[in-house]
């Protein structure tokens, strides 16, 4: 590592924000991809991968992604729940790569619920 300046210290801190948002719980948004057996069969893995790609591309640091088991609505998988801190959780159903990208841009980044894909707003919290 080269000699650091105070600005470098700040930069390093900034770069690691995402990792520590995950560990410290100081995140702004949380996405839960439902990965029960049916979810995985329906393609939840692709959704997860697409989402992780988008996150890396946009270089967001304050969003965390978790998985959870079957959401109990196997017929409408793949599903994901998006929660913006302070807001109610929104469940999206019958997702594909294109839809999750749109949800990422609109809901996660800009905070606008994508109503056309949303099934329900304000279900049980997941943590």
């Amino acid at each position: 590592m080269p000699r650091l300046t105070i600005d470098d210290l700040k930069k390093i801190k900034e770069q690691h924000k995402a990792t520590f948002a995950v560990r410290e719980g100081g995140y702004r948004a949380k996405v839960t991809v439902h990965m029960g057996t049916c979810g995985i069969a329906a393609g939840a893995r692709t959704i997860m991968t697409a989402l992780m790609d988008e996150m890396a591309k946009a270089d967001v640091k304050d969003v965390i992604v978790t998985t959870s088991g079957c959401a109990g609505l196997c017929s409408r998988e793949p599903m994901a729940t998006v929660e913006i801190a302070g807001g109610p959780p929104v469940k999206y159903v019958e997702l594909n790569e294109k839809k999750i990208k749109e949800i990422f841009d609109e809901h996660i980044l800009k905070g606008n619920v994508v109503e056309k894909y949303a099934m329900v707003v304000g279900s049980e919290t997941t943590y």
């Binding site: 590592m1 080269p2 000699r3 650091l4 300046t5 105070i6 210290l9 390093i12 801190k13 770069q15 690691h16 924000k17 995402a18 990792t19 520590f20 948002a21 995950v22 560990r23 410290e24 719980g25 995140y27 949380k30 839960t32 991809v33 439902h34 990965m35 029960g36 057996t37 995985i40 997860m48 992780m52 996150m55 890396a56 591309k57 270089d59 967001v60 965390i64 992604v65 978790t66 998985t67 959870s68 088991g69 943590y127």
Partner: protein, 625 residues
């Protein structure tokens, strides 16, 4: 573009967990993640001690805040599949509440974690101690930057003084004052020193900090060095702490490479070099003047003060020595200010304190709590109460061999320097050994005195000879040779040793004896007069008896007796043949029905005479009380 990870797995690589196999767990997890192509999404970090070593190997999962314990490599495939693929945390591997046996998953709901406030341990289990970037990411070196570029030494000292922080190494001397004394002395050469000797048997606070967050110690030292005007520093660590030494050395190297140690730190014009000195491990070397002699390559023996180290310390140059935990608290004080520091704790004992909780409690481990917290909360909530059916809290030994015991009647005292000293114990460095009704207080005092008598450097006759005489008396008492007047002799000797010893070792060595006499005098008396160690620990002073009326004849005691001293038929009351009994206690600890009682040595009467006492025993109180 940085890789994004959705989960951080913090695998504990503290000394406790590594010896329980945490590195194998890490490998197993890595293999499983690779198999499922999850290695990019899920990050694994090796951390320092989490403080729940008894549950090792432990891992914490973020953001879920789930805490797994006692993992075995064969658990891993299932765990990865369920939790990291499907998002279903695995109940049976989670931390469990001792009494309820119900898994409580979320860390902030585990009482062990819930009551803690982490300052000195702020990065415990959260960063990889071998990566300087992770320390920096958590505000690391920002306090040094502030102190070096925005503050004068006088301003640094003022904040530290105002914060009221007191040295965590034992004596509780105000750190700001200590720095001020040294800053005022004119000298071209000064030294900033760190005491990582941690000689108190059973304590491991400082080791954990050095292992889990070595940069926190280094940063504290940089700030202290700047305040007093020192350009050279040493961290004195005992050689028995190889992992701490390794992590500190890596941290020093990384900080030096990054220009955070060495010449012209952060372009402030301030130079500070840091080296590790490996201590030989004698207890007395933790004493400040002895420690300095030891770094000079001489035999570690205390010398009289004054002159104080602030004037004549290492190599006769002005020096400041601070404890590891004290130093780990400095950065947050500089960053957040004195007021912030004072928002926890009490007026005279602000902030938090780290304790090593050991002994008869369910959760043995490392805890950091606000000063002023009731002792009861530490033992019952964080410690999870006394371990084992029918056992009761008896006393807690605080401050190690220099400290004393605090009995049950005082368990509601707030834990502060002042309140602990009033009991006759000391805060010390933070060792807390919990004892239950199966601990013999004479034996406890003897244990600590054996330690100090052994560790006395021999310079002062009262310390060297006095502790030996006291130890002989205690040995006599515990082996049935106690005489009338022994208690008074112990008290007299204690006061002489305290008054005439040069260093803290001698001055505090009698504390365990004095406090046990103060609170458990009757126990000394029954050893001496009745030849009765009611806890059943001193073999020459007890006998074990089965109370017929209570015995269910289950035979458990009989099966476990190593000398076949127990006779009896199934479902009928059993009996101990006293001539054969070697007083190993095994039956006493085995009997589920509390039917076995401890009576004086050579007790000959009818055990049924004791039915009354035994009935009391049923309600949870042993005949021992």
């Amino acid at each position: 573009m940085s890789e994004q990870q959705r989960v951080s797995l913090m695998v504990c690589a503290g000394t406790g967990c590594v010896s329980a196999g945490s590195l194998k767990i890490k490998e197993a997890i890595e293999d499983e993640l690779k198999k499922r192509s999850l290695e990019k999404e899920i990050g694994i970090v090796l951390t320092g001690c989490n403080g729940l070593c008894a549950g090792g190997p432990v891992i914490a999962v973020y953001p879920d805040e789930i805490f797994y314990q006692k993992l075995r490599p064969e658990d891993i495939p299932h765990l990865v599949e369920e939790h990291f693929v499907k998002g279903r945390p695995v109940q049976k591997l989670m931390y469990k509440m001792p009494a309820k046996r119900k898994a409580i998953p979320v860390m902030s709901e585990i009482p062990f974690f819930k009551h803690q406030v982490l300052r000195a341990l702020r990065n415990k289990g959260l960063i990889d101690p071998e990566k300087i970037e992770e320390y920096i990411a958590r505000d690391g070196y920002m306090a040094a930057a502030k102190a070096l570029t925005e503050m004068t030494p006088g301003e640094i000292i003022k904040v530290v003084k105002d914060s009221g922080i007191r040295g965590r190494g034992g004596a509780g001397f105000p750190t700001g004052l200590k720095w001020e004394f040294c800053a005022k002395v004119q000298s071209g050469t000064k030294f900033m020193l760190c005491n990582g000797d941690e000689g108190d048997p059973g304590a491991f606070m400082d080791r954990s900090i050095m292992e889990a967050d070595p940069h926190a110690v280094i940063e504290g030292m940089i700030i202290g060095a700047r305040a007093i005007g020192a350009n050279m520093g040493y961290i004195y660590v005992r050689a028995e702490y190889p992992l701490a030494v390794k992590r500190l050395q890596m941290a020093i190297d990384a900080a030096t490479e990054a220009g955070l140690l060495g010449k012209n730190i952060l372009d402030s014009g301030f130079d500070f070099n840091l080296e590790i000195y490996l201590g030989a491990g004698a207890f007395v070397c933790g004493e400040e003047t002895a420690l300095m002699r030891s770094i000079e390559g001489k035999r570690g023996m205390p010398r009289p003060r004054p002159p104080f180290p602030a004037h004549k310390g290492l190599w006769e140059k002005p020096s400041v020595l601070n404890n590891v935990e004290t130093l780990a608290n400095i950065s947050p004080i500089i960053l957040h200010g004195a007021e912030w520091y004072r928002n926890l704790g009490t007026e005279k004992s602000p902030g938090t304190k780290v304790f090593a909780l050991t002994g008869a409690v369910n959760n043995v481990g490392l805890v950091e709590v606000p000063m002023g917290i009731p002792l009861r909360t530490i033992i019952n909530d964080i410690g999870g109460g006394i371990k084992g059916r029918g056992r009761k809290f008896k006393a807690v030994q605080m401050g190690g061999p220099s400290g004393g015991c605090i009995p049950e009647s005082l368990i509601d005292i707030p834990v502060t320097y002042e309140d602990v000293v009033k009991t006759g114990a000391i805060m010390g460095s933070g060792g807390m050994v919990v004892m239950d009704n199966n601990n013999c207080m004479v034996g406890m005092a003897k244990f600590f005195l054996e330690f100090t008598a052994e560790e006395s450097c021999g310079k002062c006759p009262p310390c060297r000879v006095g502790t030996k005489i006291m130890l002989d008396i205690l040995t006599d008492i515990s082996e049935g040779r106690g005489k009338e007047g022994d208690i008074e002799t112990l008290e007299d000797l204690s006061h002489d040793i305290i008054a005439t010893s040069l260093c803290g070792l001698g001055q505090t060595a009698p504390n365990p004896v004095l406090t046990t006499i103060r609170y458990f005098r009757d126990e000394y008396e029954s050893h001496i007069k009745d030849r009765w160690c009611k806890a059943g620990i001193c073999r020459e002073l007890c006998s074990f008896h089965i109370i017929e009326e209570l015995c269910k004849g289950c035979g458990a005691c009989l099966r476990g007796c190593p000398s076949k001293a127990i006779v009896g038929e199934k479902k009928k009351p059993h009996r101990i043949i006293q001539d054969l009994c070697v007083r190993c206690r095994s039956c006493y600890d085995t009997c589920k029905f509390n039917s076995i009682k401890v009576l004086p040595a050579g007790f000959e009467g009818e055990p049924s005479e004791l039915v009354e006492t035994a009935a009391a025993a049923k309600s949870g109180k042993g005949a021992a009380e």
